[in-house]
């Protein structure tokens, strides 16, 4: 990090290093199932953080983040299936470009609307892409999706080798950590302050000279890009791209992660993702059929009794 970051409250950086340390050692001590689980939490956490940029910082609720996530997956699949020998970085670039193109499209149209109309528009767009992907079997594999083999990890000219579950976890951890630091910096930049001003009072932000729509478009695009990155990671981890991940249920989960963990904190949504996934895993073992009922009850109770989310109480310190 930069000098500026270190000058911030020491407690924050101590926490950062401790959590990062725990997540680094986790795959070395956890059994296979939980190792994989923690990697997945990080990926869903990245999706949650990306939507927090809109929900928590700009005050725009997106119900369409699955489309960015899904396009990240399909972009990755396309690069790995269509282009020469599988290359990790090419797959990453292809996934990001796919997500960015769709994000630009959605941003251009959806940001003309506000509040619930914006939310509905993002939902509609994601469903349009879902239907396209689901029905265009020749290209997307339709209902079955696309499967491919995992690309090797390579640092051009330096090192190359297959991913092991542990190194894959570290790779994901590195990408998610860098994304977190990038998103955090964006939210603290003058641009990020404009987004928060839009959240607090859109009309006033306009009146002091900001072209609000332009800021929203860039916010949606950035958010979509990071959501796409999460999709890329998920595709690489699971070696497939499937239409289920473009469906609005994934978007809904991203919103739930934010509400549970604490909007406008970036790390809150990651904690929310972890909490939600652990709950769902635990209940699905005891109630394989009805596990979503207790999860739903807990979510409802949290909205009522803990509206700030798990880490909402740290909001000021996390954004300092």
């Amino acid at each position: 990090m930069t000098r500026r970051g270190l000058a911030g409250p020491a407690g924050y950086w101590v926490g950062f290093v401790v959590v990062l340390g725990l997540l680094t050692v986790a795959p070395l001590v956890l059994p296979e199932f939980w190792r994989r689980f923690v990697t997945e939490i990080l990926i869903w956490g990245l999706l949650a953080m990306s939507s927090d940029l809109l929900i928590g910082y700009t005050g725009m609720v997106s119900f369409g983040h699955s489309v960015f996530f899904g396009l990240g997956m399909y972009g990755t699949a396309a690069a790995l299936l269509a282009l020469g020998p599988p290359n990790l970085w090419l797959a990453l670039a292809s996934g990001l470009v796919s997500a960015a193109v769709v994000a630009a499209f959605v941003a251009y149209f959806a940001t003309r609307l506000r509040d619930i109309y914006f939310a509905i528009t993002t939902l509609v767009f994601s469903q349009i892409f879902y239907v396209i992907i689901f029905t265009w079997t020749d290209v997307t594999g339709g209902e079955n999706g696309l499967t491919f083999s995992q690309p090797p990890f390579s640092l051009p000219g330096l090192w190359s080798g297959r991913f092991t579950p542990v190194t894959l976890h570290w790779f994901v951890l590195a990408v998610v950590t860098l994304s977190y630091l990038g998103l955090r910096r964006i939210t603290q930049s003058p641009f990020g302050m404009v987004l928060q001003s839009i959240r607090e009072n859109e009309a006033r932000t306009r009146a002091i000279g900001y072209h609000v729509e332009r800021y929203k478009i860039v916010a949606v695009m950035l958010s979509g890009l990071f959501a796409g990155l999460a999709g890329v990671l998920y595709a690489i981890q699971n070696k497939f791209a499937a239409p289920d991940f473009v469906l609005f249920l994934v978007s809904g989960e991203a919103v739930i992660f934010n509400v549970m963990g604490g909007m406008g904190t970036l790390v809150g949504p990651v904690a929310g993702a972890a909490f939600f996934l652990v709950l769902r895993e635990a209940f699905s073992r005891f109630f394989p059929e009805y596990y979503l009922i207790p999860v739903g009850v807990i979510f409802t109770l949290m909205v009522v009794f803990l509206p700030q989310g798990l880490l909402g109480f740290l909001r000021r310190r996390l954004n300092a």
Partner: protein, 265 residues
């Protein structure tokens, strides 16, 4: 206060010789209709550079509509608005703001969840480094310094770390003016700046307006006649969307039509 606007070229009023100062804002046959209601009907006003102009009139006279047309919130049905000779009719609010027209609101309109300093800093920032994404906002000390100057000018320097929502009503009104000032305006439109204020607070805000008026052209809508008479040399009276009188405070007080309008309502 001298650092608020670095370029002081904006006010030829005080540099000019005997000639009449140039017109800063002019509306030409400005009309705004809402369905069958003529909120503004062929309003012609000309505000000179450097003056404090008061707009008065009973409720529903069209004062706020006039403000909303000038600041781009409403697009006038017909007529033109000229600012420093340039046609600004129908421009959106952010473009108007960038032309150096600022406004404060009748109903306090601030960022409640942000600190006092942040409220002003974000307004200052709209003129500098607004599109920077990768540096911490605190590293732009030039903006923070400007914001502090504004806070000192409106008497809120002590409260800069407080949440705006926690300020008293009077302090929020001052912050309201601070936010407007931070955008470095040449024309400042104040919509009932003393609304809901105590007598002491009102005196303070009148003193504040006098101080900042040195660098600015001010258009003020106000109900408190004492405030109006104390500040403005020219008063425009609106009634049912039309200008029914314009003149010095003495002329306005003596005008039979104005007396009629105010006695009737």
């Amino acid at each position: 206060m001298t650092r608020l606007r670095s370029a002081e070229a904006a006010s030829p009023a005080r540099t000019g010789g005997g000639a009449a100062p140039p017109v800063m804002l002019r509306t030409e046959r400005l009309s705004m209709r809402f369905g069958g209601l003529n909120a503004l009907n062929n309003v012609d006003v000309a505000i000179q550079s450097g003056e404090i102009r008061a707009i008065i009139g009973p409720n529903g006279a069209g004062k706020s509509t006039l403000f909303n047309c000038i600041t781009g919130v409403l697009r006038p049905t017909s007529g033109r608005i000229l600012f420093a000779g340039e046609d600004i009719t129908g421009l959106p609010p952010h473009r108007i703001s960038r032309k150096a027209i600022a406004r404060s609101y009748q109903i306090t309109n601030i960022l409640p969840g942000a600190t006092v300093r942040e409220n002003v800093r974000i307004a200052t920032q709209s003129r500098h480094h607004a599109w920077s994404l990768l540096r911490h906002h605190r590293s732009y000390t030039d903006i923070i310094d400007r914001a502090r100057d504004v806070l000192a000018a409106v008497g809120l320097a002590e409260k800069e770390d407080d949440l705006a929502a926690n300020l008293s009503h009077g302090e929020q009104r001052n912050l309201e003016i601070g936010i407007a000032l931070a955008t470095e305006p040449r024309l400042l439109c104040l919509d009932e700046p003393t609304a809901g204020m105590s007598v002491t607070e009102t005196h303070a805000i009148v003193a504040l307006i006098r101080r900042i008026a040195a660098d600015l052209t001010i258009l003020i809508v106000e109900h408190d006649m004492e405030v109006v008479m104390g500040l403005a040399r020219t008063i425009t009276v609106l009634h049912y969307g039309e200008v029914i009188a314009e003149g010095t405070p003495a002329q306005i007080q003596a005008d039979p039509r104005v007396q009629e309008v105010y006695l009737k309502t």
